[in-house]
């Protein structure tokens, strides 16, 4: 049975949004949602631990229908986390883990390309 997004919107905390913007500038992404998805993939690829314990206040940033218009992200998370009921939460926690890790790299190591980010 295919699980759907629990909420119709996706929220980002202010600090993460700031970091996301910096990452976008450093790595020259066109859109913030593309940057956000890259951060998710980085977290998945590097098996970053999701911080599910934190109580973070997020503010709505995208509508899920626009954010994952083709549903690929939903399929991915369903496939990779078949036991999870709320793949939207998985999405956000993975994104935040990726944002934090990448932001640290690009700002501390002055990285400007995705290749450099993925290499280190």
């Amino acid at each position: 049975m295919t699980r759907q997004w629990k909420s119709k919107t996706l929220g980002v905390s202010k600090p993460h949004e700031q970091q996301l913007l910096e990452i976008k500038e450093h790595l020259q992404f066109g859109q913030e949602d593309d940057t956000y998805k890259f951060c998710v993939s980085y977290a998945l690829a590097n098996k970053l631990t999701r911080n599910t314990e934190r109580n973070i206040k997020r503010e709505t940033k995208w509508a899920m229908g626009n954010f994952d218009a083709d549903g690929d992200l939903l399929v991915l998370l369903n496939a990779m986390f078949p036991e999870e009921e709320d793949v939207q939460s998985v999405l956000m926690t993975l994104a935040e883990a990726g944002i934090e890790a990448i932001h640290k790299k690009v700002t501390e190591e002055y990285l400007y390309t995705i290749g450099e980010v993925l290499k280190n």
Binding site: G30, F38, S41, Y42, D72, A79
Partner: protein, 651 residues
């Protein structure tokens, strides 16, 4: 000319050999031959004519071989005759011999001549005779008294004899040369008249050719002017090219730097465009980079999922097979007939156990199938991710952008350095010079091509002009004088010679008149009655009385004296001094005249030889007394029969 001897051999009445010698000294220069009629006096005169000119005559008739060969010799079988004349002229001694035989009939015999003992050619012999004793003068120094009357006929200018003598007189005075010249000039004039006519015809063609040549001249002048202009242009262009080349070479290093700068700017722009393209591309694939990052992981998961699906399918096939077997066993248990082979089963007790065993197995397989997760969505995801770039490709694209950016920045650095090096040097100026040089070079090539073409044209025009000039020359005169002009000049010359003929004729008349008058006054018996002679246009002489009137009637003697005076005058004017040989000159003269003539002739001529018969002059005549000291030789001419005459020395 001084005659030394005359030798005859079988000539006319002289049979055998007869030799006559003549006195040479001026004081004793007279030879008198005495002989009666028909003895052979005139034959000796003919011997002189024949040996000198190959001609002999009697009473106006030319004598041939049969007349000349002695009849007695002929009757004896002889066929050859000859006459030999020995004479001197100036310091040379000549022997002239003319012989004739049957083979010479109709001709003048064979002429042989020796000069100072050496033979000379026939032509030289004839030229020598013509120089010393011109044939035209023979009538005057080989004088036949029987022909004296002919001279008297000169007073009748219309008579044939008068015309003949007039011609002879003019021959002596050099008229033939003049007349020959006039004849030649007449022929030349005729030829030029004809050619002039042709020239007028060809002048039209020449005029056309000259017009064509003038056109060529104009064209040539135009092209040569153009060639000169182009040559100046070519020289100037080459000079400007050299200047430009120097200027361009002088700024070569700066120009090279300038060119490198331009190339770098082009490279910079190229890299800039490339960066834009690559970044656009990168931006596009960056939208999906999250898929690229996970693509390999998803692919591996999908592979595992596919394996699980295969396992599920196999398990389901096994479960379905077991279900069918269970169904078949249950039917066999109820009917005790084998469902497969339809044979009766004797013991069905073990069928229930077998059915339970298979049911347990089916339950186990179902449990295993349930444990295999649902994987359709993962496989579908893998197919979706397959459309995204592979991560490696993405990274390469990103590296490409980085590399291009580096190249771009490198260009910018180099541009800055070159800009500093060049300063405000304008490569555009050099480029303009280079473009100008290229254009000038092209212009020069066109100029050279035009000059070459012009030179070819000029050469062809000159060649054509030369051809026309040659044609014009051919149609005109090669010496540049037109036929018309030549005709006019020839006519002028002809006119001059015509006038010269009249002048010469008048001059001859004056000179002959003076000489004849002198002789006449010496020979006439009445010198006190006459003042002289006056020559007429036909060379006749009129006697002029003391009162200046013409004597209307002349006696026969007077006529003869006048004729002798004319002959003497002509003889003196017409040739160099030489002998005068007279045959019976005294026919109608009285004793006084005969004495006067005998006294005068030895003084007038270098040698005087006279043939007389007894009716004219006796050996003991007193007429001879005044000239006896002058008589060097006297001969008697006698004969033994009609064909054997001989000459005997009487003194």
């Amino acid at each position: 000319m001084i005659v030394k001897s005359l030798h005859l051999h079988h000539f006319m009445p002289y049979y055998g050999d007869v030799t006559i010698e003549f006195p040479e000294a001026e004081g004793t220069n007279t030879t008198i031959f005495y002989g009666e009629n028909t003895k052979g006096k005139t034959s000796i005169l003919n011997a002189f004519r024949w040996v000198l000119y190959g001609e002999a005559e009697s009473k106006g008739r030319a004598l041939d071989y049969e007349d000349l060969l002695n009849k007695k010799a002929l009757s004896e079988g002889e066929s050859e005759l000859h006459v030999e004349l020995s004479f001197s002229d100036r310091d040379d001694h000549y022997v002239l011999r003319r012989l004739m035989s049957e083979k010479h009939q109709g001709g003048k015999g064979n002429l042989l001549m020796q000069k100072n003992g050496q033979p000379i050619t026939h032509d030289e012999a004839e030229q020598t005779i013509e120089r010393i004793a011109p044939k035209g003068t023979r009538r005057f120094f080989l004088f036949d008294g029987e022909l004296l009357r002919e001279y008297e006929e000169l007073m009748e200018p219309t008579s044939n004899t008068a015309k003949k003598i007039k011609k002879a007189i003019e021959d002596v005075m050099g008229f033939p040369t003049l007349m020959k010249t006039l004849e030649v000039l007449g022929a030349v004039e005729k030829r030029f008249r004809k050619e002039s006519q042709l020239e007028r015809t060809s002048n039209v063609a020449v005029s056309d050719l000259k017009r064509d040549r003038d056109d060529l001249d104009a064209s040539l002048e135009e092209k040569e002017g153009e060639l000169e202009r182009l040559s100046v242009d070519e020289k100037e262009t080459r000079a400007r090219l050299t200047e430009l080349a120097d200027a361009i070479d002088g700024s070569k290093d700066m120009k090279d730097a300038y060119d490198r700068l331009q190339a770098l700017k082009r490279d910079r722009d190229f890299y800039k465009n490339k960066i834009d393209e690559q970044e656009n591309h990168l931006r596009e694939i960056k939208r999906e980079v999250w898929k690229s990052v996970l693509r390999q992981d998803v692919a591996m998961r999908a592979k595992k999922a596919l394996a699980g699906q295969e396992t599920r399918r196999k398990l389901e096939v096994s479960r379905q097979k077991l279900t069918l077997e269970i169904s078949s066993l249950q039917k066999s248990k109820q009917t005790e007939v084998c469902a497969t082979c339809n044979q009766t089963i004797r013991d069905v007790s073990n069928l229930g156990a077998r059915i339970d065993e298979k049911l347990a197995k089916v339950e186990q397989i179902s449990g295993e199938i349930d444990l295999i997760p649902e994987t359709d969505s993962l496989i579908d995801l893998n197919m979706r991710f397959a459309n995204a770039s592979r991560l490696q490709d993405f990274l390469s694209a990103e590296a490409d952008v980085d590399h291009t950016l580096t190249m771009h920045n490198d260009c910018i650095d180099k541009i800055k350095r070159l800009q500093d090096e060049i300063g405000d040097f304008s490569g555009a100026d050099v480029d303009a010079q280079i473009i100008k040089r290229v254009k000038l070079q092209a212009s020069l090539e066109k100029l050279v091509e035009s000059i070459t073409q012009l030179e070819t044209d000029i050469s062809e025009i000159k060649s054509e002009k030369l051809r026309l000039s040659k044609k014009i020359d051919e149609l005109s005169r090669s010496d540049g004088v037109s036929k018309e002009s030549a005709l006019l000049q020839t006519q002028e010359i002809l006119d001059i010679f015509e006038r010269a003929k009249d002048i010469l004729r008048e001059d001859i008349k004056v000179r002959v008149e003076e000489a004849a008058q002198h002789a006449f006054l010496e020979m006439t018996s009445r010198p006190d009655d006459y003042s002289g002679l006056k020559i007429t246009d036909s060379y006749g002489l009129e006697m002029i009385a003391k009162d200046g009137t013409v004597v209307p009637q002349r006696s026969a003697g007077a006529e003869q004296v006048v004729a002798l005076a004319l002959i003497d005058g002509l003889n003196r004017v017409g040739r160099s001094p030489g002998p005068v040989i007279m045959d019976t000159p005294f026919g109608r003269l009285d004793q006084t005249h005969r004495a006067n003539i005998l006294a005068y002739m030895p003084k007038s001529a270098r040698q005087f030889m006279v043939f007389v018969h007894s009716g004219e002059l006796q050996r003991d005549s007193t007429v001879l007394d005044p000239i006896k000291p002058l008589i060097g030789k006297e001969y008697s001419i006698n004969s033994n029969g009609p064909y054997v005459s001989y000459v005997e020395a009487a003194k």
